[in-house]
C-alpha cells in the first residue's frame, strides 16, 4: 500500500445555484482542482453524490461528469453513502491510489438539492433513513435527529438553548469563508427563537440543504512534489457502519459508526484524539455535532454540549470545529459535503485559511455521516 | 326469525374517535348561533381514521372479550356507508389485521344505517347453519354531512363489532330476530356525489317510524313479549328525539332506553348507531336481563333483535375498554378544525 497525497483542491460557492446544473457544478469544481494540481489528465474519477436520481432525474453520474469535465474515457463511477457520499468517494479514490492501481485520481462531490421544493427535498433525504420502518411513518432526517436530541436532553439535563454555541461558532467562522452560503452571525436569542422543524430541532439547528461541488486530486505521496509543494498527505482513511434505523442501534445516543471509524483512523495514523488540531465534523444538526465530539473522544458521553459552551470548539479552542462554517453555515450540498470538509482541512493545513486560520495546524480530521449516523467515514490529513 | 340452532354474542367491542364537534359550533357558523340543537355534540374521526381503522379496533375489543382464536372466525363482514374503497372490501383489511385470514369470508355490506345489523342477521345464519363456528359482524361509519344541512349537526363516527357464536359460549343469546324492509327512498346517495340527499320530514313517519315500530312490534308479538319484559331497549339514533318517541310508542320507559341512548354525546354513528348503543348496555347488563335492539337503515328497513344476557357476561365485560371510556375520552374541536379533519375543503 502506498501513501496518498492531495495535490489539488477546488470548490464552488455553496448556495442556491438556480443557473447551474449538477453537471456544470461538478465540472467547475473538478477543473479548479485540476488546475490547482497542474494536471490535464487523470486515471480515474470518483463522483460522490446522493439523491441525483430523485432530485435531478439523473443517475450514472460517473460517466456523465467525466464527459462534461473533459475526462471522457477514463474509469469513473458514482459513489453513494447518504450524507457521507463525498467522503465515500474520497475513500474509493484513496484506495485506488494506495493500491497502486491508479496514479492520478480526481474525486468530486456534487450536490444539487434546490431543483425540488422543500417538502420533496425533505422526502428525498428521508431515503437515507430506514424506508420501511422510519420514512414510511412520516419521519424526516430532522425528526430522527430530534428524537435523539430530546432523549439526550432528558438523560443529561441539557436544554435546547445549550446547543446554540455550535450554530454561533459555525456562523461566526463562515463570515471568513467566501465560499460559504450564510455569512452572517447568529445570536443566542435568534437560535432560541427559531421556528421548530421537528421539536426540539429548530431551523437554526439544522444545516441548510444547498447546491455545490468540491473536488480534490490525489496521487502517490512520493510523487506529490512533482506537482506541488503544498501537498497534504492522507494519513488515515477509515469507514464504519451502524444500523440504519435509530431504533435498531444498541445505544441511540451514541454514534457508534463515528466512534469505530475514528478509532480505526487514529490507529492507522498512529495518533491520539488529543493530537488532532482541527475537526471538520458532520454538523448536519447541533446534536450531531455534540455526539460526534463524544464519539471521537473529544468529550465524555453527555459532555459534548459543555465543550461548545466552554468555547473549546472555537478557532483558538482546544478542538476547533466547522472552521470554515461547517455544514451549518458553509452549507450542506449532501453528496458534496464530504469533499468540502476535506478541502477545508487542506486549506487549513496549507496555511491558506485566511482569517479562519487555526495557528500551527498540522493534523486535521474530517468526518462525514450518512443518514442519522449509520455510515461514518473519517479521513486524517497531515501537513 | 329463529335459527334452528341457538346462537349469541361471544364477544362485543366498541370504538368512538376522540374528537367532538359541538352542535352549537355548526349553529354558530351556519345560523348565527340561533335555533334548537338536535344533540349536544358529535364524534369526529381524526385525519388518520376511517371505517377500516374503527372496525379494526372494535373487532380487537370484541376478540379480547370473546377470548377466541381469530383463525376460527369464518366471516369478517363490515356494514357501512363510508367504506374507504368503493371496490376492495373493508372486510379483508379487518380480517388481516385481526389474524383471521386466509380461511374466511370478507365482503362489505351496505344498507345505510342498518348495514351493521343486516350483517348480524347474516352472521347468525352463517353460524347457526354450522358453516362457521364464529362470525364477526361490524357496523361502523365515518359518514359525511352536507355543510350547513340539518344532518351536519348529527352525523358522527364510530363502530361496534360482534362475534357471533354458539349459545353455550355467548354472553347474550338471540331469542329471535325480525326484519321489516320496503323500498322507501328517504335518504340516499348517488355515485360520485359527495353528500347524501334526504327527504326532510319524509324521513320520519313513512321511513324511520314505519319500519322501526313495525319491526319492534312484530318481533315482540312473535315472541309473546311486552315492553315490561325488557330491562333495556336500544333504537337507531339519528337524533335525540326519534328513538325516544319510538321507545314511547312501543311502551318503553325512559329508564329502559337511557343506557343505550348515546346520540347526544357522539352523534349518529350510522351503521354503528344502535350497535354502539347495545355495547353500552352490555357493559353494564346482568345475567338474565333481556334487551331489545331495533335498528333502522334508510332505503329502508329495520332489524329487530331480542337478546337475553347469560352468566358469561360478567367475566367478559372488563376485558376491553367500556363504551363510556371512549365517550369520556373527548377533545373538543371547532368548526374550522372539523372542516380540515373531514377534508371538506378538497373540492373536486
Amino acid at each position: 500500500m502506498r501513501e496518498v497525497a492531495i495535490i489539488g483542491i477546488g470548490q464552488t460557492k455553496v448556495g442556491e445555484h438556480w443557473e447551474k446544473s449538477l453537471r456544470q457544478l461538478a465540472a467547475e469544481a473538478i477543473r479548479v482542482a485540476m488546475h490547482d494540481a497542474g494536471i490535464e489528465r487523470a486515471d480515474a474519477l470518483y463522483v460522490g453524490n446522493a439523491l441525483s436520481g430523485e432530485i435531478a432525474h439523473q443517475e450514472h453520474l460517473g460517466a456523465l461528469v467525466a464527459d462534461f469535465a473533459g475526462l471522457k474515457g477514463i474509469e469513473a463511477v458514482k459513489v453513494e453513502a447518504g450524507g457521507a457520499s463525498g467522503a465515500a468517494a474520497l475513500r474509493v479514490g484513496y484506495l485506488a491510489v494506495a493500491s497502486g492501481l491508479n496514479d492520478v485520481v480526481v474525486v468530486c462531490g456534487v450536490g444539487k438539492m434546490t431543483d425540488r421544493i422543500e417538502a420533496m427535498r425533505t422526502a428525498a433525504l428521508a431515503l437515507t433513513l430506514d424506508g420501511d420502518y422510519e420514512a414510511a411513518h412520516g419521519l424526516s432526517l430532522a425528526a430522527v435527529w430530534a428524537l435523539i436530541m430530546r432523549r439526550y436532553m432528558h438523560e443529561y439535563g441539557v436544554k435546547h438553548e445549550d446547543f446554540a454555541p455550535f450554530t454561533m461558532n459555525a456562523h461566526s467562522n463562515a463570515m471568513g469563508n467566501p465560499y460559504a452560503m450564510f455569512r452572517r452571525p447568529i445570536s443566542a436569542e435568534a437560535f432560541a427563537r427559531a421556528p421548530m422543524i421537528a421539536d426540539p430541532i429548530g431551523l437554526l439547528d439544522m444545516a441548510p440543504l444547498a447546491d455545490g461541488a468540491a473536488a480534490v486530486v490525489l496521487c502517490p505521496a512520493r510523487q506529490g512534489r512533482e506537482f506541488t509543494d503544498k501537498a497534504v498527505e492522507i494519513v488515515a482513511s477509515a469507514a464504519a457502519t451502524d444500523a440504519v434505523a435509530l431504533h435498531d442501534r444498541e445505544d441511540p445516543l451514541f454514534l457508534r459508526a463515528a466512534h469505530l471509524s475514528a478509532q480505526r483512523a487514529y490507529q492507522l495514523a498512529g495518533v491520539k484524539a488529543e493530537e488532532i488540531d482541527i475537526f471538520e465534523l458532520h454538523d448536519e444538526s447541533t446534536i450531531a455535532a455534540a455526539l460526534s465530539l463524544e464519539a471521537c473522544g473529544f468529550a465524555e458521553r453527555g459532555q459534548g454540549v459543555r465543550l461548545a459552551q466552554e468555547g473549546k470548539i472555537a478557532l483558538n479552542g482546544r478542538i476547533p470545529i466547522s472552521t470554515m462554517g461547517g455544514l451549518k453555515a458553509r452549507g450542506n450540498p449532501v453528496g458534496a459535503t464530504g469533499l468540502y470538509q476535506v478541502v477545508e482541512v487542506v486549506q487549513q493545513l496549507r496555511g491558506e485559511a485566511g482569517v479562519n486560520q487555526v495557528k500551527g495546524a498540522r493534523l486535521g480530521m474530517a468526518q462525514s455521516l450518512g443518514g442519522s449516523g449509520a455510515t461514518a467515514i473519517t479521513h486524517i490529513l497531515a501537513a | 326469525m329463529k335459527p334452528s340452532r341457538d346462537v349469541g354474542i361471544v364477544g362485543y367491542g366498541a370504538y368512538v374517535p376522540r374528537y367532538r364537534l359541538p352542535a352549537s359550533e355548526v349553529a354558530r357558523v351556519w345560523r348565527g348561533g340561533r335555533g334548537p340543537l338536535p344533540i349536544e355534540e358529535k364524534a369526529v374521526p381524526g385525519l388518520d381514521e376511517d371505517t377500516a381503522t374503527i372496525s379494526i379496533e372494535a373487532a380487537r375489543n370484541a376478540l379480547a372479550r370473546a377470548g377466541i382464536d381469530p383463525q376460527l372466525i369464518g366471516a369478517v363482514w363490515v356494514g357501512s356507508e363510508s367504506h374507504p374503497y368503493a371496490v376492495k372490501p373493508t372486510g379483508t383489511i379487518v380480517a388481516e389485521a385481526i389474524g383471521a385470514t386466509p380461511e374466511v369470508l370478507a365482503a362489505d355490506w351496505e344498507f345505510a344505517c342498518k348495514a351493521g345489523t343486516e350483517v348480524v342477521q347474516a352472521a347468525i345464519g352463517l353460524v347457526a347453519s354450522g358453516m362457521a363456528r364464529y362470525a364477526l359482524a361490524i357496523g361502523a361509519d365515518t359518514a359525511q354531512g352536507r355543510p350547513g344541512d340539518a344532518l351536519e349537526y348529527t352525523v358522527g363516527a364510530g363502530g361496534a363489532a360482534y362475534i357471533i357464536g354458539p349459545r353455550e359460549e355467548s354472553l347474550a343469546y338471540f331469542e329471535g330476530t325480525y326484519s321489516y324492509v320496503t323500498d322507501t327512498p328517504d335518504f340516499f346517495r348517488r355515485p360520485c356525489q359527495r353528500y347524501p340527499t334526504h327527504g326532510g320530514r319524509f324521513t320520519g313517519e313513512p321511513a324511520y317510524f314505519r319500519h322501526t315500530l313495525a319491526a319492534g312490534r312484530n318481533l315482540m308479538e312473535m315472541l309473546g313479549l311486552r315492553a315490561e319484559d325488557y330491562a333495556y331497549a336500544v333504537f337507531h339514533q339519528p337524533n335525540a328525539k326519534f328513538p325516544v318517541r319510538a321507545a314511547k310508542e312501543l311502551g318503553f320507559t325512559r329508564e329502559q332506553i337511557e343506557v343505550g341512548l348515546l346520540v347526544s354525546e357522539i352523534g349518529n354513528t350510522y351503521a354503528g348507531s344502535s350497535l354502539l348503543g347495545l355495547t353500552a348496555i352490555l357493559d353494564v347488563a346482568k345475567p338474565g336481563e333481556r334487551i331489545l335492539l331495533v335498528s333502522y337503515g334508510s332505503g329502508a328497513g329495520s332489524d329487530a333483535f331480542s337478546l337475553v344476557v347469560t352468566d358469561l357476561i360478567e367475566e367478559r365485560q372488563a376485558r376491553a375498554p367500556f363504551t363510556r371510556d371512549y365517550i369520556a375520552r373527548r377533545k373538543e374541536i371547532d368548526y374550522a378544525t372539523y372542516v380540515r379533519y373531514r377534508q371538506k375543503l378538497h373540492i373536486q
Partner: protein, 151 residues
C-alpha cells in the same frame, strides 16, 4: 405505485409480527434474515437435506412472534416540516416506543396532543392510516401508538 412493497409489510404493519431467534431467543421486530444479536441465520436454509439425510445439527427453528403492542415512549418529536406526502397531517408527533418485550420501534403517536406527551408514557398500538397514495392509489394502514386506554 408501491402496491407490492406495502403489501409485503402487512403483517408487520397490521399486527407487529416479529420473530424470536431460534438460537439466542432474542425477540426481534421486524423479522430479519440474520439475527442482529447473535448472527444466527434466521431464514430456512436453501440447501435442503437430501432424501434420507438428517437435517444439520442445531438448526433451531425461528418462530414468528406477535408483539402485544404495549410499550412506553422512549423519545418523541412533533414534526412541523414534513416530507412530501405527509404534509396534510402536520403537526404530527413521531416517537421511539420501547415495546414491553424489549425492541424499540419508530412510529407516530395518535390521539394525543404534543404537549401531553412525556418520556415514559405508557402507550398501546392502534392501526391507523399512514397515508393515501393519492386519490386513486392504495390506502396504507399501519401501526401508531396512543396513550393506553386500559391499564
Amino acid at each position: 405505485m408501491s402496491i407490492a412493497h406495502n403489501w409485503r409489510l402487512r403483517n408487520q404493519r397490521y399486527r407487529l409480527v416479529g420473530e424470536v431467534c431460534g438460537n439466542c431467543g432474542a425477540k426481534l421486530f421486524p423479522p430479519r434474515d440474520v439475527c442482529p444479536a447473535c448472527g444466527h441465520s434466521m431464514a430456512t436454509p436453501s440447501l435442503t437435506p437430501m432424501q434420507g439425510e438428517n437435517p444439520p445439527e442445531g438448526t433451531n427453528q425461528t418462530t414468528a412472534y406477535v408483539f402485544s403492542g404495549r410499550g412506553e415512549v422512549y423519545s418523541y418529536s412533533t414534526v412541523y416540516q414534513a416530507p412530501e406526502g405527509y404534509g396534510e397531517f402536520v403537526p404530527y408527533t413521531v416517537a421511539l416506543v420501547k415495546l414491553e418485550e424489549g425492541p424499540l420501534v419508530t412510529a407516530q403517536l395518535a390521539d394525543v396532543d404534543p404537549d401531553e406527551v412525556r418520556i415514559g408514557m405508557p402507550v398501546e398500538m392502534v392501526t391507523r392510516k399512514l397515508k393515501e397514495e393519492g386519490k386513486d392509489g392504495i390506502i396504507v394502514y399501519g401501526y401508531k401508538f396512543r396513550p393506553r386506554l386500559k391499564a
